[in-house]
């Protein structure tokens, strides 16, 4: 495993605990439909520091993509952020004006999407799609922006960048298109990059190259990276810290090594067991029984309880809080809570010191 958190690579000071680039508190993103309110993101807390990579993991439909889009306020109606704070640079982005958000997006906070080829405009030369960022956010002249874009395309390892800059997206392979997306996302050295399934649409052979590039550039620029994925292999390879999402909530957060070594939440354990492991032969992969509860459903107890082989009465009756464990980890499970605490009634979430906006 290469993903050990190694401060030597980080451009930020490794000594004191660094203030997070972005801190999300109690984020709730709701979709109002004909059948009622769907709580796609239901009380998510997370933070990420400069140069750090946070893996946001979960099955399809767990709300990880909506969480990612919420961070830059790009959830399209009928979705809306119903509650919570997204603190960036002392500002709450939930309350930020559209003009402020336009200035941040693509400049300080950028995104990479799952389908690189579909995310590039089919009728604009890729060089311009990169260069327009310099024109737009830096007020550069077209010629200078173009040269800058070509340099950037070289930096992300696009072969024959001068010529390829004139190409249209359909002339690129998926891997090349994702390199262009990475160039766009990191063009202005953002403080936060949110990558939503950046390698899912790519060939396995290309995946590792792209992840390596992404991680390397983020370290160089001190850019915090939120890597949204369903692929634990990608997380193991890339992330420093992991947040596991289930049914709109975070069920476990931990540094990547302890998480893989000793998952605290039965769901995380299930995910790990359903992953093939090299060098270990198994006739069948274990699957988590059942399926993700439909997002409209309100449940009395733990959302994972119906699928959990460790569930007991309390799990079905009372939702467990996200509790801090001794080693700085967090888990949302009654079994993870140390005995003395378990008997006490808990508030809904981990207690945090109140901070002004």
């Amino acid at each position: 495993m290469t993903a050990l958190s190694s401060p030597m690579h980080s451009s930020a000071s490794p000594a004191a605990p660094i203030a997070p680039v972005i801190e999300v508190r109690g984020l709730r993103t709701h979709f109002t439909g004909e059948t009622g309110i769907i709580r796609a993101v239901d009380g998510v807390d997370l933070h990420v520091r400069a140069g750090e990579c946070l893996g946001l993991v979960g099955e399809s439909g767990c709300g990880k993509t909506i969480t990612a889009l919420s961070l830059v306020r790009l959830v399209s109606p009928p979705g809306r952020i119903a509650a919570g704070e997204i603190l960036y640079d002392g500002r709450d982005l939930v309350k930020a004006s559209e003009a402020d958000l336009l200035a941040l997006r693509g400049d300080r906070i950028s995104m990479i999407f799952q389908q690189p080829k579909a995310s590039l405009n089919p009728v604009i030369q890729i060089g311009w799609q990169v260069a327009e960022l310099f024109c737009h956010h830096r007020g550069m002249a077209r010629r200078a922006a173009w040269l800058e874009a070509v340099e950037l395309l070289k930096a992300v390892g696009l072969p024959a960048a001068e010529r390829k800059a004139l190409a249209y997206p359909h002339e690129l392979s998926g891997g090349q298109a994702q390199r262009v997306m990475i160039a766009m996302a990191l063009a202005l050295k953002p403080r936060l990059l949110i990558a939503d399934e950046p390698t899912t649409a790519l060939d396995v052979t290309v995946q590792a190259q792209i992840l390596h590039l992404l991680r390397g550039l983020c370290r160089d620029f001190g850019t915090a990276l939120i890597l949204v994925t369903h692929d634990l292999g990608v997380v193991a390879e890339t992330a420093d810290r992991v947040a596991v999402m289930y049914a709109g909530q975070i069920v476990e957060t931990a540094d990547v090594v302890p998480l893989f070594a000793q998952p605290a939440h039965p769901y995380t354990r299930g995910l790990l067991h359903s992953m093939p492991v090299q060098g270990r032969r198994r006739d069948r992969l274990d699957a988590i029984p059942g399926s993700v509860p439909p997002p409209g459903l309100t449940m009395a107890g733990c959302r994972f309880a119906p699928r959990c082989s460790f569930a007991f009465e309390r799990c079905h009756a009372e939702p467990p809080p996200l509790v801090g464990l001794p080693d700085g980890r967090q888990a949302r499970c009654w079994l993870a809570i140390p005995e003395p605490t378990r008997s006490r009634s808990h508030s809904d979430d981990v207690a945090r010191p109140g901070q002004p906006d």
Binding site: L74, A103, F113, L120, N121, P122, I124
Partner: protein, 310 residues
Amino acid sequence: MAAFILRRLLVTIPVLAGILFATFLIKALIPTDAVLALYSGKVTEQKAEAAIAAIRAKYDLDKPWYEQFASYAVKVAQGDLGESIRTRRPVADEIGFRYVNTMILTGAALLVAVLVGLTTGIASAYWKGSWIDEAAMAVGIMGISMPAFFFGLVLIYFFGVQLKWLPVIGTGDLRSLILPALTLGLIESAPLSRITRSSMLDVLSQDYIKAARAKGLSEAYIVLRHALPNALLSILTIVGLQIGGLLGGAFIIEVVFGWHGIGELAVKAIGWRDFTITQAIILISACTYVSVNLVVDILYAWADPRINHR
């Protein structure tokens, strides 16, 4: 690209040959004998036989059809459209200035249609479901269902008769162009607006628009620079087809507004049973339509990088 244009030009040759043959057949399709039509009531019985035979010989009407067609094709190729049966002047002279007038009217109408159609279409797509969208929809349905000549009369009544802002009948200057161009253009802008709306809605839901928003680009820039060029690809095809509608509509509108174009002349020529003029007008309109669509195809290939130019 040059090879693409050349190949596209070659494809139009059989189309033009087909048009030529169709216009040639018009002579056979008119309900009366052209020569009799020309001479009805003007000559005495005795002279008629000889005169008719002479005319038939002059217009090759006594030869088999394929010889007639061959000589017709050769003449057209030489730019000789024959002479008007009624005025005995060369058809080209009768048509020339009127063709220019019709092109001015159609061009102005196209400008109106594109400006109004694209603007309302883009606005309805962007503010989907808003009052702008609803209003554009209501007006659009009116435009699609209302016959052009009726709309023309309504405009004449308001702007010509009631407000007296504009001349009600063609005087040849630009002021008399406004009403017919508005009539024709607004009618054609209705379907264009609907197409633009659906095309823009499709484009605005694409991933690359979301990606453009994530880049922090302004909404106006995203709509005009990222979305519109993609939507234009499908709009362009429709515009090509609509020019056919404009040419057809111009025939009626020219009569309503007394605009001296080929449409007005065609309606008169049919009444006169002047088949050489009718033939020539149909031929020239069809060729215009083919050329316009050729241009649209080339524009399309130029605008869409995904089309292979080889």
